[in-house]
Structure formats: C-alpha cells, structure tokens
Amino acid sequence: MGANVIPLFVVVSLSGAFLISLFGRKLKWFPDLIGSAFTALLLLLSLYAVKIVAEAGTLVYSAGSWKPPVGIVFVLDGLSSFMLVTVNLVAFCVAMFSINYMAKYTSKWKFYTLFLLMLAGMNGVLITGDIFNLFVFLEIASVASYALVAFGTERHELEAAFKYAVMSTVGSLFILLGIVFLYSATSTLSMADIALSLSPGKHSGILMLVSILFLMGFGLKAALVPFHAWLPDAHPSAPAPISAMLSGVLIKSLGIYSLCRIIFCVLGVSSQLLSILMVLGTLSMLIGVFLAIGQWDLKRLLAYHSISQIGYVILGISLGTPLGIIGGLFHLFNHSIFKSLLFLNSGAIEYTTGTRDLKKMGGLSEKMPITSTTALTAAMSISGIPPFNGFWSKLLIIIACVQAAKYWYGFWAVLASILTLASFTKVMKYAFFGNLKSQWAMIKEVPVFMKLSMIILAVICVFGGLLFFPGLREPFLLKASGVLLDAKTYASTVIRLVQ
C-alpha cells in the first residue's frame, strides 16, 4: 500500500461523482448511499494517511512514473494529511446531513455530483506538488461551488452566485498570472523545483510581483478583509450543508492552505510578507466580528464570523513562531468543526421553521433539544469558553502573540473573542431560549441523519481540545506545523524522495 494510497483521494471522489451522474437519476436511493459511503471511505483513507505519515514521514508519488520536474508529483506530508482529515471529516458529516436536508430541493443527484466534485477538487489541491495542477483542482472546487451556491435558483441566490463567481474568477486569473511569471523565471512547474530554482538576488523583483499576485488571488479565495465582499452573500445563500462546506473547509483548503504552501514552501517566507499577513489577519478578525454583531439573519451572522475566525488563523500562522503556527493550524481545525456545526444547526432550524431571521425565532430549545444542545456547544466553542476546543486554540494564539512581544495583536485577539461571545449570546437568547412563539408549537425535532451528524461534530467540539495534549499532538498537529516551520527543507525532501 504505502504511497499508492495518495492518488485514491482524487480517484475515489471522482468515481463517486461519475457513478452518481450515470445511475443517480434513475435510482433515488443511489446518490444518498454513494455520497455517504464514499465520504466515509475518504475519511478512513485520510486517517490512514495520518498514520503512514506519522510512521514513514513525507511520501511522494509520481503520476505516470514520470519523475518531477517532467511529470506531476503528489506530495503527502504532515500538513496535507492534517488538512485531508479536516476536509473529509466535515465532508462526511455534511454528506450524512444532506440525506434528509436536501429532500427539500429537486434533483438530488446533481447536488451530490457537484458535492463530490467539489470534494475531489479540494482533495486534489491538498495532495498535489505541482503548481499548475494546484490551479486546475482549485478551479474544479471553485466551479462546483459557484453552481452549488446557486442551487436553489432563487433570485438572491443567483445574484450572490454571480458576485461570488466573478470575484473568484478574478482571483483565479491573478493566480494564473502569478504562475506564468514563475514559469517564465524558472522554466518549471513543479513546486519543489521552483523553490530550488528561485534565488533571491536574481529574482527579487519577480518574487515581489508574484507574492502580490498570489496574495490577491488566494486572498480572494480565502475572503481576507479587503477581498471579503463576496462571502457574506455567497455563504448564506447556499443550501445549509454547502454553507457548512464553504465556510468550514473550502475557504481554508483553497485559500489558507494554498497560500501557506506557496508562500512558505515555494517562494520562501520574508518578514515583510508576514507582517502584511498579520495586519490583514487582524483586520479580518476585527472587521468580521464588528459586522457580525449587527446582523439578524442567522446564516449571515455566521458568515461574518467566518471572516473573523479566518483572521485568527492567519494571525497565528503569520506570527511565524512554533507556538503561533500550531495555534493557527489548531484553530483552523477547530473552526472547521464548530463553524460547520453552527451552519448545520442553522440548516436544521430552517428545515423545521423555514426562517433564518433571529427575531422570528424563540424558545426553540423546548421543541428541538438536540439542535439547541449542539448549537450551545458550538457557540461556546467559537467564543472560547474553557473546556471546549475553541478555547485552547485561541489561548495558544494569544500566548504566541505575547511571546513574540506583539502585545497589541494579542489585545485585538482578546477583544475579538469577547465580541464573538457577545454576538453568540444574542443568537442563543433569541433563537433557543425565551418563550416559545405560538406559531412554532407544532414543530418537531429534525430527522435521524441530521441529528447524528450534528452529534458527531458536537462530540468533537467537546473533546477536540484533547488533540493538543501530549501523545495525541505528535502525529497530527506537530507534524503539520513542522512542515511550515521547516519550509526550507520541503523542496530538498521532495527531490530526495523521488529519486
């Protein structure tokens, strides 16, 4: 087995999508089964990937037996396997949730096909070691997500999808332009080879241009603050499981992972770039949370919080210290879990009551005990209440800020956390507590698969903090942060392993 497992991440999800498109329109049960079974298989594969990376270190695999730089190489290292687990865990829960939730929509098989294609795109981005291949799979995930945002084909959904599609396409064009300049300067497309060919003295101008282009391009994909305008429209407009995917993992794997991989491992990280990222991260953190406080639409509020939490991740990673990077990555994982859970909760509320307006809800905890308990868990997690996972990662980021003598950044992080708590107190008060409104007297708890996926995510929220404790952190978090810390060795490791 060993390295042969790497291409399977793309192959399994792609073959799921193709099979659903062939047989799904006749057999009603087929898309549900394939969607859940294949994502479960992918989750098992990614856990296996963590295991083999922990045992054997970085693995590489050459497609078609062509060694890089001639062919395309797959690279599976600590960061990739960490992201693979995050993506596929959320995808499995979302696929299970969709079994009941997507019954509201027509053409379920199209939904599952696009969902698996998006998953294939994300997995492809995570395992590739070739910069143009990264672009291709990034576009697969993006194109699938444009269609999924507009899946309900209502007015505002189409409008949000158009805005998202145009801005994201501009981002892709910037990324492609950056790839053209890199190719012209180095005459190769393999990331490891580019990293070895670039020399700071000869290529300083082009490195700056390419860094700016990638920052704009991946910033648009990750919705960092000057480029965030599409997110508050696109994420609420999508069906709830897709909002969970978009906010939970898509902006991270396409935006943050790709940006970190290229800036740290390929272009070589410089202190100016890190300080730019730090400022952008802090701005995202504060502006996102300030915009979120005034919202009354539940999903829109959650979308603004995504911008804010992405800011935490960027702030942690751009500190550049070991503790900061671990904190940032840990927060990335935690945010995927609790933000998907919150979006699934909002989907469950919409499923039973048909509204997203906080003012119209009230007292739902009586009628929907499981939804409200899991939502309470996630809300405490996102606002950093001690035993839950969000607390530990925020604590790590703040300690790292203090250690690096960046006291103001630490202060802003604490402030944003307090504002998050305030905003979620509002959500819990208006949605779940208080008096039950008379129009909701007849509602029932959601169906079984929706309950199950919310419970799984909530359990991870409660026990997620354990991942940082010794014994569990070595294969998972430390391997991932090690990749970004020793980014200079990435290229030489890959080249050494393929020989």
Binding site: A165, V166, V180
Partner: protein, 114 residues
C-alpha cells in the same frame, strides 16, 4: 525594450480588469472576464516563444531542431478549457438572472447588501 510585448499583453489584461471593475452590465462583466483570460493565455504562449522557432511537432522527412517550448502550450490548452467552463457557468447564471429580474443591469439587481 525586450519586454514590450509582455507589457502590451498586460495592458490587454488590464482592459479586461477595468471592464470587470467598472461596468455595470452583467454581459459586459463576462466580456471582461473573457478578455482577461485571453491575455493570460497569450502571455503564457509569449514567454514560451523562441526566436526562429518551429512548432513542437516532428515530421517524418526533416530533422527538427529549435522547437518552441511545448509545456506552456499544453498548459494553455488546459487553461482555455477552464476558461470555457467558467464562462459557460457565468452565462448560465446571467441568463437565469435575466429571467428573474428582466434586466442585465447590476445597479437594479441589488437585493443583497454586502
């Protein structure tokens, strides 16, 4: 002076970008996206050109040397297809928007605030 062609190509890219940023009509925005894609593809082929080069195709009767760089050509083929896929989806969204709002003008299609 050796890079004038690149600058002209980037100017083409910027015309597309200007169109996306400033025009208030959905079809015009799509046109801007198409023009920008053209410019990026052209730049990729431009950096691959070799003086007095030949196409990278062998012929049975003549020995070929001095072929142009073949990798960007392969990559641009992929990127053209990606452009086509994006454009098709954008047009589909645009036509649905027209059907719902009866206009292509995005100042009149303004239900969302963000």
């Amino acid at each position: 002076m050796t890079h004038t062609l690149y600058i002209l190509c980037l100017a083409l890219f910027c015309i597309g970008l200007y169109c996306i940023l400033r025009k208030r009509n959905i079809i015009k925005i799509i046109i801007g996206v198409i023009i920008s894609e053209y410019a990026v593809n052209l730049l990729f082929i431009l950096v691959a050109y070799r003086m007095q080069g030949r196409s990278p195709i062998y012929s049975p009767d003549a020995a070929i040397e001095n072929m142009v760089d073949a990798l960007p050509q392969a990559v641009v083929l992929t990127s053209i297809v990606i452009g086509l896929a994006t454009t098709a989806l954008l047009i589909a969204i645009a036509m649905r928007i027209y059907e719902k709002y009866k206009t292509f003008d995005i100042t009149k299609i303004n239900e969302l605030r963000g």
